[in-house]
C-alpha cells in the first residue's frame, strides 16, 4: 500500500525532471552535431559537385516561391504603408518605409521561412529516408564521412543561397510596393525611389545580410540534424520533418529578435 502511494506521489515528480533533461540532452546532441558539421566544413576535401547540386536545390529551385512571396509582401506593405502614412500626411515616405521593413526585417525572415518550408523539409526527408534505409550507414562502411557528403554541402549551400534569395525577395518586394504605391495609389515614382537613399544606409543592408546568413545556418543545422537522427519507419521521417520545420521556424524568429536587439 505504502509502495503504491509512493509510486503515485513520486511518478509525477520524477516526470517533472524528465522534460528538461530530455530538452537539455537534445540541445547537447544538436550542439555536437553542429561542431562536427563545422569541423568537416573546414576540413578538405569539399564535395564541390554535391555543393553545386544543393545550391541549385536550395537556391535556384526556391526562386519561384521567393519571387511570389516577395511580390505579395511588398504589395501588402504598399497598401498598409500608404494607409498609415496618409493619416499623418507623409505618403512621400512610402518608399523608405517599404524598403526598411523589407531589408531589415521581413526580407530575411520571410525568405528564411519560405526556404525552411520548401527546401529544409525536403532535406530532412531525404536524410531521414537515407537514415532508415541504411544509406548513411553504407557511406560510413565505405569509410566515407556522411557529414562531408550530406551535411556540409547543405550547410554551405544554405549559407550561400539565403543572402542571395533574401536580396531577390527585397528587390521584388520593393517593386511590389512600387506597383501598389505608385501605379495604383498615385505616389510619385521618383519620390518612392529617391527618398530611399535619403533614409537608408549601408547598415540597414548589412543587418539584413547578417540575419540571412544566420538563418541559413539555422535551417541547414536543424533540418540536417533532424533528418540525420530520424527515427524508424515512415512515421519517424514524418515526425522528423515536422520537427525540423517547426524548430527552424521558431529558432529563426528567436534569432531574429536577438539579432535585432543587438544590431538595432
Amino acid at each position: 500500500m505504502g509502495n503504491q502511494a509512493d509510486r503515485w506521489l513520486l511518478t509525477p515528480i520524477r516526470g517533472l525532471g524528465r522534460v528538461p533533461l530530455s530538452v537539455i540532452s537534445n540541445m547537447g546532441r544538436m550542439g555536437i552535431f553542429l561542431v562536427q558539421a563545422l569541423f568537416f566544413t573546414f576540413a578538405p576535401p569539399l564535395k564541390f559537385f554535391r555543393l553545386l547540386k544543393q545550391i541549385k536545390f536550395i537556391g535556384f529551385d526556391s526562386l519561384l516561391v521567393i519571387v511570389l512571396t516577395g511580390a505579395f509582401t511588398g504589395m501588402v506593405l504598399g497598401f498598409q504603408g500608404f494607409y498609415t502614412l496618409s493619416r499623418v500626411g507623409s505618403t512621400a515616405l512610402l518608399g523608405p518605409m517599404v524598403a526598411l521593413a523589407l531589408l531589415r526585417e521581413l526580407g530575411p525572415v520571410m525568405a528564411a521561412l519560405m526556404v525552411t518550408g520548401r527546401a529544409g523539409s525536403a532535406v530532412t526527408a531525404e536524410l531521414g529516408i537515407m537514415r532508415i534505409t541504411e544509406q548513411i550507414d553504407a557511406l560510413e562502411i565505405l569509410g566515407l564521412s556522411p557529414f562531408r557528403y550530406l551535411v556540409v554541402p547543405n550547410l554551405l549551400a544554405a549559407l550561400i543561397c539565403l543572402p542571395l534569395l533574401t536580396a531577390i525577395f527585397n528587390v521584388i518586394g520593393i517593386l511590389g510596393g512600387y506597383l501598389i504605391g505608385c501605379k495604383l495609389l498615385g505616389v510619385n515614382g521618383g519620390t518612392y525611389f529617391g527618398s530611399m537613399s535619403d533614409y537608408m544606409g549601408m547598415k540597414d543592408v548589412l543587418i539584413g545580410l547578417y540575419k540571412s546568413i544566420c538563418f541559413g545556418g539555422i535551417i541547414a543545422w536543424v533540418c540536417c540534424h533532424k533528418g540525420y537522427t530520424a527515427g524508424f519507419g515512415a512515421e519517424g521521417v514524418s515526425k522528423a520533418t515536422t520537427q525540423a520545420v517547426v524548430l527552424s521556424s521558431v529558432l529563426i524568429l528567436v534569432c531574429d529578435y536577438l539579432l535585432t536587439s543587438v544590431l538595432f
Binding site: T133, E134, D137, A138, E140, I141, L142, G143
Partner: protein
C-alpha cells in the same frame, strides 16, 4: 583475425547483448544464426563499428576498433564490405554509379579503369545490362546483387552479410548463396553471415555461431551443430529444418533422409 570480446549493449533499458564473444579466423566465414530479435544485426553493426557497445571490445588485427580515432576507424572501414538487409543502395545513383562510388571516392583510378572494374563486377553478380537502372527499378534479388557488387568492388578483407536472402524466393536464395560462396573463393575474405536460411547457409560457411539470450550459445562447424547436445540449439535447428530432416536422436535411423539432406547441405 576478429575477436568479439564480452560485448554488452542495451536499448532503452533492454539488454540485447549480454556478453557476446566470438572469434573469426582469417579467411573464415561464420554463420551467425539465432531467433529473430536476439541482436544478430546489432552484433554485426558493432563489428562494423556502426554501433558502440556499452562494454566489451572488438579486436581486429590486435587493435580494439572502439579505441580508434575517426581517421583510423574510417581507414579500417575501407577494408570492410557490408551487405545490408535491404541493400542500402544510394537511390539517387544508377547501379553503375553505386558500384563505382567506392572506387571514385577511395581510389585514384581513372574513369576508364573504373568502368572496366565495375562492369566486370556486375558481370560476376549477373547484372550485365542493368547498369543504367536506378535502385527503385530493381527487383529484390537484383538489388541484393548490386549491393553485393558494391561491397565487393573494393576487395574487402572482411565481409559482413546482414540477412542476404531475406524476402527472396528460393531460386534467388540459392543463387545468392552460390554467389557468396564463389566470391569467398575468389577474394578469400573473412566474414559473418547473419541468416535464417538454414541449412542452405551451411553449405559454404566454416563455422556456425548461435546467438541466444544475448550470448553466443554455440560455436562449431556446420556438422557439429547437428550433433550438439544443447537442447536450445537443437530445438532452434529443428524449428528451422523440415521435421523429417532432423528427427530426434533416439529415432534417427543410420541412413535417414535427414542425413542425406544434411550431407547435401554440408
Amino acid at each position: 583475425m576478429i575477436t568479439i570480446d564480452n560485448l554488452h549493449k542495451s536499448f532503452g533499458g533492454v539488454e540485447v547483448l549480454r556478453g557476446a564473444s566470438l572469434e573469426i579466423q582469417d579467411g573464415e566465414v561464420v554463420a551467425l544464426i539465432g531467433p529473430s530479435g536476439e541482436g544478430k544485426s546489432v552484433l554485426l553493426k558493432h563489428v562494423a563499428g556502426l554501433m558502440r557497445p556499452d562494454s566489451g571490445r572488438i579486436v581486429f588485427n590486435g587493435k580494439d576498433i572502439f579505441g580508434l580515432g575517426h581517421a583510423e576507424l574510417m581507414s579500417l572501414r575501407s577494408r570492410f564490405g557490408f551487405l545490408f538487409q535491404n541493400g542500402a543502395l544510394f537511390d539517387s545513383l544508377t547501379v553503375f554509379d553505386n558500384v563505382a562510388f567506392p572506387l571514385r571516392e577511395k581510389t585514384r583510378l581513372g574513369e576508364k579503369d573504373i568502368r572496366e572494374k565495375v562492369l566486370a563486377e556486375l558481370k560476376q553478380v549477373g547484372l550485365t545490362g542493368a547498369e543504367d537502372k536506378y535502385p527503385s527499378q530493381l527487383s529484390g534479388g537484383m538489388a541484393k546483387r548490386a549491393a553485393l557488387a558494391r561491397a565487393l568492388v573494393g576487395s574487402p578483407q572482411i565481409m559482413l552479410f546482414d540477412e542476404p536472402t531475406t524476402g527472396l524466393d528460393p531460386i534467388i536464395v540459392h543463387s545468392i548463396h552460390a554467389l557468396i560462396a564463389s566470391t569467398h573463393k575468389r577474394f578469400g575474405f573473412s566474414g559473418i553471415v547473419v541468416s535464417h536460411a538454414i541449412p542452405g547457409i551451411f553449405a559454404y560457411v566454416q563455422k556456425v555461431a548461435v546467438l541466444y539470450g544475448g550470448v553466443i550459445r554455440f560455436v562449431g562447424t556446420p556438422k557439429e551443430i547437428f550433433e550438439t547436445d544443447d537442447v536450445v540449439v537443437r530445438n532452434f535447428i529443428q524449428g528451422s529444418l523440415p521435421a523429417e530432416t532432423f528427427p530426434s536422436r533416439e529415432q534417427a535411423p543410420p541412413q535417414s533422409k535427414a542425413n542425406e539432406l544434411q550431407e547435401r547441405a554440408l
